[in-house]
């Protein structure tokens, strides 16, 4: 009998690349497009969502036999919104600068479909440790994609990275990249790049076989 459980490294790789919630599964596109106007915003949003994802996965997994099947989605939403409120209060108290820049989008984590999707697809069927790890790896993938998107948009749209000028003095920022249209363009290019890399990797591994 073989153990088919993937290793931690494989699961990390899945979260970051193979099953990246943004670049491959295209989940949570709304907050992705709205908050990634800068690297700081993208990273802050990613980490906030990751904290909610880990905590909600843990509690949903612990309560998976207690939550009635008929009202499981309502129960998940209550749990997720509770943790989002807790994270929002903690950010307001200890990271006020991040709170100022993300504002309205922190409460909107409640309706982030990545969190609800992982609760339904994973946490409700697996143990607490596995569910927490799933939240961590998916959260890392979400944070990675948001940070990358935020960095590209900030550099092209404002000529800065984390607030520091990184472009040559005569560079004119392309404002479209901090607008929603720029978010779609950048996300499209990133998805194309990820697909190209995956196809290349598949061909390479196919050639070896």
């Amino acid at each position: 009998m073989t153990n088919n459980k993937p290793t931690l490294k494989a699961r990390l790789f899945e979260g970051l690349f193979d099953k990246n919630p943004i670049l491959v599964q295209l989940l949570g596109t709304c907050p992705t497009l709205a908050t990634t106007t800068s690297l700081q915003n993208g990273f802050g949003m990613g980490v906030s969502a990751m904290a909610v994802l880990i905590l909600s996965n843990l509690l949903i997994s612990l309560l998976r036999k207690f939550i009635p099947k008929q009202v499981r989605i309502a129960a998940y939403i209550v749990i997720i919104s509770g943790f989002v409120t807790a994270v929002e209060l903690l950010i307001k108290a200890y990271l006020p600068e991040l709170d100022k820049s993300l504002g309205l989008f922190i409460p909107l984590i409640v309706v982030n479909c990545i969190i609800l999707a992982r609760a339904e697809a994973y946490a409700s069927k697996n143990g607490p440790v596995d569910s927490m790890l799933d939240g961590l790896f998916m959260g890392l993938g979400f944070t990675f994609a948001l940070s990358l998107l935020g960095a590209i948009r900030e550099i092209l749209g404002a000529g800065t990275l984390l607030g520091f000028n990184v472009m040559w003095p005569s560079y004119k920022p392309m404002l479209i990249f901090v607008l929603p249209a720029g978010a779609f363009l950048t996300l499209g290019c990133l998805i194309a790049a990820v697909n190209a890399i995956q196809n290349y990797a598949k061909k390479k591994s196919g050639g070896k076989q």
Binding site: V78, L90, A93, P96
Partner: protein
């Protein structure tokens, strides 16, 4: 059969109630731990904005939070200026009306804390007003507008346009091209702030 269904429904409701209670307890605990810190952060932001407006008038001295009011002290620790909330009827979007007094208790200026709705979220701002002259300064405390576009409302190029202006502001200060939905509420808020001070001074019969 009917009894079984009722029993099942009650069971589901009870379980949901337990889940809600657990979550409410977690949120209540986090709120208990963070509420004082959040309140202090808001006061620090206001103190920083007040320093930005009045600091240069008093050799760069800074406002600090002292209980419910803000004070500016000299090098010897003596209070130079105090800023306290004035008790009055408030116009829409106005969160506080502060009155600045010198060490002898003479009224120096008014400062209106106002939060109009911007393009994405509320823009928290302070409008300093000298009733006889008009607007002394406008300072943005916090905003969540689009980086590079809506955030232009916090630049001095725009905010300096209000200095020394009195009512009417709307129509006399231009919106920012490309950031109309962020700059228009700021212009309207300065107008409201002037009206708020006029309302207060009229209600006090110009005594201040």
């Amino acid at each position: 059969m009917q009894q079984n269904n009722t029993k099942q429904l009650l069971g589901i409701a009870l379980r949901l109630l337990i889940i809600c209670t657990v979550i409410a307890t977690i949120v209540a605990f986090v709120n208990y731990v963070t509420k004082d810190k959040i309140e202090l952060n808001q006061k620090i932001s206001t103190a920083e904005a007040l320093t930005g407006i009045y600091g240069s008038d008093f050799n760069g001295a800074k406002f600090t939070v002292e209980g419910d009011s803000y004070v500016m002290k000299d090098e010897n620790g003596n209070v130079v200026v105090s800023c306290e909330e004035a008790d009055c009827e408030k116009k829409p979007d106005v969160t506080n009306l502060y009155m600045l007094r010198d060490a002898d208790g003479n009224a120096l200026s008014f400062c209106v804390a106002i939060s109009p709705m911007g393009f994405k979220d509320k823009i928290s701002m302070l409008v300093a007003i000298n009733p006889t002259v008009g607007v002394k300064a406008v300072k943005i405390v916090s905003l969540s507008e689009t980086s590079g576009i809506g955030t232009k409302v916090q630049e001095d190029d725009f905010l300096d346009k209000f200095v020394d202006k009195s009512s009417p502001i709307v129509g006399n200060v231009d919106t920012i091209s490309g950031a109309t939905k962020s700059s228009k509420p700021v212009i309207g808020a300065v107008e409201t702030a002037l009206e708020q001070v006029a309302l207060y001074t009229n209600s006090k019969g110009g005594a201040e």
